[in-house]
């Protein structure tokens, strides 16, 4: 027993004697590695906070709702970027959720197992495609398509509303949203499919026994059970879409303005950081960019948290409605 009267070497010897060998060492080593993960994450948050200091000091909370981005006069506001980030992700969701959930329903309920597995495998491969490759295809394949066919069609049909105004640039919020939608497919499909598969078979069989068509059984008896999981998948995909940098930067038009029209160019937080970070000459400019990064980080934490929560709730059996 180490006592206050023991010398330091004595104490060390006692400590080592208590280490009965392998197990404690293994515990210690693995613990150190795990602790380093926590440490590096803490340093990350700390650095973000410190480096955005000058901007936080200058603008305070008003940073979040000001919309001027003026490096000449050192006036920075996050609103256009927050808006751009959210709108591209939301429009992307609007496009990808119906398709994704529809596909997930097909794959989990209606397709024969072999086909379902094969198709799911292919869809999940889509998640492996790097963002910059989506951007590459977007610039050369999607943008001309949008500029020459899709956008003019939208303008002539809906140009009277404020949401579809403006020249057909080809680049802009809508194009970026479409790219994001494609990138979100694998997440929505794969997670929703998992949620649907977990619904107890009895649900569907009971509905069928009562005379429901296959579709009715699926839609009325199975899907409601998986609601939470599906919504969870939406949150998780959203969190991913918000942080998407390259594909969006290449087709969003890089204009920090808030526009009702989704055919107009916009700017997201990730894009402005990617474009301006290496060159922000003023201290405030740099701090403002880091603060934007912090804001983005916080938004994704919240969304990820909500998504995980919802998924955890679905895992409990018998939690419909």
């Amino acid at each position: 027993m180490a006592t206050a009267t023991q010398s330091v070497p004595g104490r060390a010897r006692t400590l080592l004697r208590n280490v009965r060998g392998g197990d404690e060492i293994a515990y210690l080593i693995t613990f150190l590695f795990a602790a380093s993960v926590v440490l590096v994450t803490a340093i990350l948050v700390f650095e973000l906070w410190v480096k955005s200091g000058p901007a936080i000091h200058k603008f305070g909370f008003s940073f979040l709702w000001h919309s001027t981005w003026d490096p000449v006069n050192d006036e920075f506001g996050a609103l256009p970027f927050v808006f751009g980030t959210i709108i591209t992700s939301v429009v992307g969701l609007l496009l990808s959720v119906p398709l994704g959930v529809g596909a997930a329903i097909f794959l989990s309920e209606l397709a024969p197992p072999k086909m379902s597995n094969a198709l799911t495998f292919l869809v999940e491969l889509l998640a492996a495609v790097p963002s910059v490759i989506f951007g590459l295809l977007a610039i050369f394949a999607l943008v001309p398509l949008m500029r020459h066919y899709v956008e003019p069609a939208l303008i002539s049909s809906f140009g009277w509303s404020p949401f579809f105004k403006g020249p057909a640039y080809g680049v802009g919020v809508l194009t970026a949203s479409m790219v994001l939608a494609i990138m979100m497919f694998p997440y929505i499909i794969s997670i929703s499919r998992e949620a649907l598969i977990q619904v107890p078979r009895e649900q569907r069989e009971a509905a069928l026994a009562l005379g429901a068509t296959r579709w009715e059984a699926t839609w009325d008896a199975v899907v409601p059970f998986a609601k939470l999981g599906i919504v969870g998948s939406i949150f998780l995909s959203l969190a991913r879409a918000l942080g998407e940098t390259m594909a969006v930067t290449m087709v969003i038009g890089n204009d920090p303005k808030i526009n009702a029209s989704i055919l107009a160019p916009g700017y997201t937080i990730a894009s402005v950081i990617a474009n301006e970070f290496t060159e922000a000459t003023g201290d405030i400019h740099l701090a403002a960019l880091v603060e934007l990064g912090l804001v983005l980080f916080l938004i994704t934490i919240i969304l990820n948290g909500l998504g995980q929560l919802l998924l955890m709730l679905t895992a409990k059996p018998g939690t419909a409605r």
Partner: protein
């Protein structure tokens, strides 16, 4: 045995003998990037022990990275401001003009292949978002005989911190009080309208792919990509296109070139002057610790001022005036 071979192979790939070259890292303006990259490759071919890795990340980037110390020297089309220079405490920044160039209004209008004439008011109006259609009277007035369509103008500007932007906005500030008040001049400004492209290449790429658009780029980007660019009315009232002669005339018209070479030559008077001309500078520290790098940089500068200048005309830049070259050769001695 097999793992030894593998390790040897990996080492051979990461540290081959060819890497005996001294790598000098530089970053900055996209404006002169084509000729800088040509120079650095030529110089490397002639002196295989020196390789300069130049990353064209924009003038703002060049200034920033020089300030942070992550590059050995920078490049910018905008001279550093006293505030920016004051931030660097380790050394003084020496500005070395390298070439002269012109920033041109390049456009892509369906059905129009003629060279358009732009008045200063027209350019300011377009970039302020006041002139929104190609057949606006302000444009039609200077271009009789050209059938301008009624389509909307898509403006393209820089999304990154750019010396080219500085030259363009510096010019617009001089010719339009409205522009000066609303937007001002700088490497990154609060643009009233338009899409953002990254680098001169990004703007050129965007204009090339977007019908009925207009952007501003260094002359060579328009030439290399076979894009149409217009003439601009200069201070003496003449519509001048950016050429070797008109850009050289702008430098010649600049009366006092200060000793530190930090000067703007936009909107100079003279019949043959192109009004949106500029020097572009290499930003070299006056104290370089690494002797090999220092000697290599000094040797490159000497080469650039004589042999390098011969490349300028072929790449749509103009070489430096003789007086400037002489003064710069003296400035090289200040690098210690």
């Amino acid at each position: 045995m097999r793992s030894t071979v593998l390790i040897a192979a990996i080492l051979a790939v990461t540290f081959p003998a060819a890497y005996a070259a001294e790598t000098i890292n530089a970053a900055g303006a996209t404006f002169p990037a084509p000729i800088y990259q040509k120079w650095f490759q030529e110089y490397h071919t002639a002196h295989s022990d020196v390789q300069v890795n130049y990353q064209a990340i924009g003038s703002g980037g060049g200034i920033r990275q020089l300030t942070e110390g992550t590059v050995d020297f920078g490049a910018s089309d905008m001279p550093m401001t006293p505030e920016q220079m004051g931030k660097i405490t380790k050394f003084k920044v020496l500005h070395f003009p390298t070439v002269l160039g012109g920033v041109v209004p390049t456009y892509n209008i369906e059905g129009v292949s003629a060279d358009l004439k732009f008045s200063p008011e027209a350019l300011a109006g377009i970039f302020l978002g006041r002139i929104t259609r190609w057949n606006d009277p302000a444009l039609a007035k200077d271009n009789p005989g050209v059938k301008l369509p009624g389509t909307e103008i898509t403006v393209v500007h820089r999304s990154d911190g750019s010396g080219t932007t500085f030259v363009w906005t510096d010019y617009l500030s001089k010719v339009s009080a409205d522009w000066k008040g609303k937007v001002g001049a700088g490497t990154a400004v609060n643009w009233p309208v338009g899409l953002g492209g990254k680098g001169n290449e990004g703007v050129a790429g965007q204009v090339k792919q977007t019908p009925n658009s207009i952007g501003y780029v260094e002359l060579i980007y328009a030439v290399q990509n076979k894009m149409a660019y217009g003439s601009v009315r200069n201070k003496s009232g003449k519509f001048v296109k950016a050429t070797f002669d008109s850009v050289t005339a702008a430098a010649a018209a600049a009366k006092d070139i200060p000793a530190d070479f930090r000067v703007s030559i936009t909107d100079e008077p003279g019949a043959g002057v192109y009004p949106i001309s500029t020097f572009t500078w290499l930003l070299i520290p006056d104290k370089i610790g690494d002797a090999t790098k220092r000697d290599a940089i000094k040797a490159f500068l000497k080469w650039m001022l004589i042999a390098g200048q011969n490349d300028a005309a072929g790449m749509s830049y103009a070489p430096l005036p003789k007086l400037v070259v002489a003064k710069e050769q003296k400035q090289i001695a200040e690098i210690k």
